[in-house]
Symmetry: D2
């Protein structure tokens, strides 16, 4: 890691050493907020931010994300988590505590189109994307220069229809070695096997270059051009084993008109793709996303 990034991480960790997040997901019932906020109060924590949502107050699912400051959080955390177990059981919660001082490790996969990778690295350099970009993996050599310039390990792993298993074995080995928390497919133009996808549930974020569910699959800009649409879009979603069908995190569009040929659509689209992917990754890193069925709650 580059020195100034390491320094920035240290500073961030110091400033946020007492900041934690609690994510909960459970059947809706009276008293959940009261119980959780009381618990945090008893721990000495101050609630900084809190967002909640219920699919239906009568018999639906309840979701909450709480950000809190708690003195001596690092020392208290494991105790706190085991004490929370009791409340969690009462309300049948799925829950997790995360800590701002634990910086997530990210692997970026890319092919030949580098604009999404560049946006991520740029936001990361500027300090707006708080993650350790631990490695970049590609089936092409194009991104090597960018990676090496920023002292990020770069792995060229040829991948195509025929060597998919072999390539993924190498991927998995690297992801394990680097303790990766999040995989970002920044225009990685290879399909992942069900086996691989299954191993990283809600941990693989993809950018698809259309406004899903329009233009699922290959060559969306070409198809948008032929349909004569007046807006083109991009969609960031978690990868599941249904192609382009995973939970949508973020979408955006840009206006086009009859003068824009396929090349122009791609150019305009690149701007949309990179901002959509950038936001999705940022929200994931800040633990803002809860996956519920095939949809996302983004707090």
């Amino acid at each position: 890691m580059m020195d100034y990034v390491e320094e920035r991480f240290k500073k961030y960790q110091e400033q946020n050493q007492n900041r934690g997040r609690l994510l909960i997901n459970c059947p809706d019932a009276p008293g959940i907020v009261a119980a959780a906020s009381r618990f945090l109060y008893d721990q000495g924590a101050n609630i900084i931010e809190s967002s909640q949502y219920s699919t239906n107050p009568q018999g639906g699912t309840f979701f909450i994300r709480i950000v809190f400051e708690c003195p001596d959080l690092k020392q208290k955390s494991s105790n706190m988590e085991s004490q929370f177990e009791e409340i969690a059981q009462t309300f049948s919660m799925e829950w997790s505590f995360t800590y701002a001082y634990e910086i997530k490790k990210t692997a970026i996969f890319v092919s030949k189109e580098l604009h999404c990778l560049r946006e991520l690295l740029w936001e990361w350099q500027g300090g707006d994307l708080l993650t350790d970009v631990a490695l970049i993996i590609s089936n092409h050599e194009d991104a090597r220069v960018e990676a090496e310039r920023l002292e990020i390990p770069f792995y060229y792993i040829p991948a195509n229809k025929d060597n998919r298993k072999e390539a993924e074995d190498k991927h998995k080995q690297l992801l394990e070695e680097y303790n990766i928390d999040l995989i970002v497919l920044a225009r990685y133009m290879q399909i992942l096997t069900p086996n691989f996808v299954k191993k990283y549930p809600n941990q693989i974020i993809n950018i698809h270059h259309s406004f899903l569910p329009a233009f699922v699959g290959a060559k969306p800009y070409e198809r948008a051009y032929h349909r004569g649409v007046k807006l083109i879009g991009a969609t960031s979603h978690y990868v599941t084993n249904d192609l382009d069908e995973g939970p949508i995190i973020e979408q955006d569009i840009h206006r086009v008109d009859h003068r824009d040929n396929v090349e122009e659509l791609k150019k305009i689209g690149r701007t949309v793709e990179r901002s959509v992917l950038g936001r999705a990754v940022k929200w994931h890193l800040e633990d803002r996303i809860i996956v519920h069925g095939n949809k996302t709650i983004v707090f």
Copy 2:
């Protein structure tokens, strides 16, 4: 027609008595602009506005829309048109002159949802939609009050799967009787027969309540909700005999999030639908749209 509308029309016609539009569509070749602009100059016309587009300067199709002012246009127009024939043949043009003093006659079809109808009537009342709204046709009685309040003839013609031919016979008779130039389907929830559609090529504008080609067909908001999209849209297009596949005129979207249930999506969508339809109708009335294959050029 209401008095103040009639008065406004008269005033508009006087102010624009010398304003014409020339639309051309032909194989691209050098000299088209020179020939057309020379022709207008020789007629004593001043070019006010001009927009052009070529699918490909080498062997493509060329489109141009010219707005001009010409003294004594009314007297000159038929002569002008016949003289233009020569240039038109030289370049194998499809062409048309239209005149601002000829106000188009519009029929609006509507069912039970009135927001699109209301937007059109509102824009029309405010003078922003320059057309004679000659009649409103509906398969329900809901719009009668709105129509009668504005002294627009209202025809209740029950329509459903079983009486389609019979209903359309009545429609055709009315459209003929009122000399209709444009049919607007302002959330008219009945499918038109191929026979009917064929009779009005590029003269029927529909609003579909999704961002096409996503969610073609019925219940788009319900399906958008279940897919968990982060943007919902609306599309205005000319009606062809392929359901929701006609040339797109205009599209727009609005941001939504996980809190928005189907009812909310519909509510937000109504705002998008009405503005998208309003723009499409306005552009059609101003002769800004040229249909080319299954796409539109909007000047």
Copy 3:
């Protein structure tokens, strides 16, 4: 009031008879959320929605808006409020409970431009604006037809620089008589006196036809045209005694270009104005806005 509106209100009140909202504003401190949510839980209430914000967790101001469902709310409410007093004192809260069954009464002031009035009435007719539009006051007769058609009392009160006091005396009398909760200036082109404004703190919403703080004061579209801006906007704000300086509730913009003359800017602007005002009024009616100094928190 028209029958179908009255019916809709009744239905709404029945469906929401147990729905309440709690708004709090106090110095930030640990335990506020825990105390408030515990209190509601003890009352038998289920929290449906909750949003909070703190200007600064260390020594700042804390804001929260909680929506809850509580069986037999009507019977419990006064008791609940007096019991809450204790918590309120502990944390030095400013607070209020509001109840969905208490429909707010609104007075709309308008001059000659009717687009904002129409948008409000339309949203209100469609059921999207939940308020009793108790009366319309104007210094012109233009809006009378709209008002009477919808059976809303209309008062023509001439107002100008010279009779300001006299006119406002009539206004106040009417506002009192009708028990008005909210005053909406829907393009009412008269300045209100400090005396009048003081009487209705954070209860008067205005729409200004520019993107404030650009083009404060008169003729913003003319000035926008001369400055050559590429976007025009509108701003909805609470009225204070500093012209166009009150707390901003909502703003939006629309793209324009060199071809748009002042008339076009006004036309485009009308669409922005009406949607911005519509949202601001809706948020106020739903008790989503807390004024803090000269800014708003919109939950």
Copy 4:
């Protein structure tokens, strides 16, 4: 210049060796389009694109931008220009031919904030900004690494209130030495002297970090925060000697809310600034902008 950029330029120049642009600005009169298009036709040119605008067909100013393809343009150009003189005099035109094979030379000025510089360099690397970035000038050393990595000459010229003349003398010398056509102030935080500005009329593009005319001058984000605006913006304009008052080229905004502190506003603003500046520079390089008084026509 880096090899691959040079190669790209060569390829572009070959592909566009016959492409020219004609910009005209004159009193409106009948026959201008006819004369100009006839002239081009006689030269053997095919009109590819044409946009026009008139402030007022009766006695206003007329603007047109024509893009054309003409065989052997390089050989013909000087002859063509001298022949055009006759038409130009007839209509009292200000006019210019530009040629796609003449790539403009750009100097970028920057201080410590690098996001705008990075956007420009990125678009330039990706081939979307067709210019020769001839040098980067800064009053700080921060941008040196970026510049040197891309083999762009970097000049550190300390500049402040006290040495303004001395610094600008160095600037002028460099701009002359490198034959600069366009100066981009990519968040260059120094005021230029009237003397300097006068030397480069409509050749200096600045990015101001507010939605002008709101928040002219220093610290716009801080002031936007204190005013409680709901949208923040950025404005790109030509530099004149009235601070932040030059002709506006492009503006855009982004939605913010009460939770966004000054730091957040700056972060969000950076995204807006870079895209607004990117578009303005691109349009200038494509000769799309005509300055008229204190406004721009952007074709």
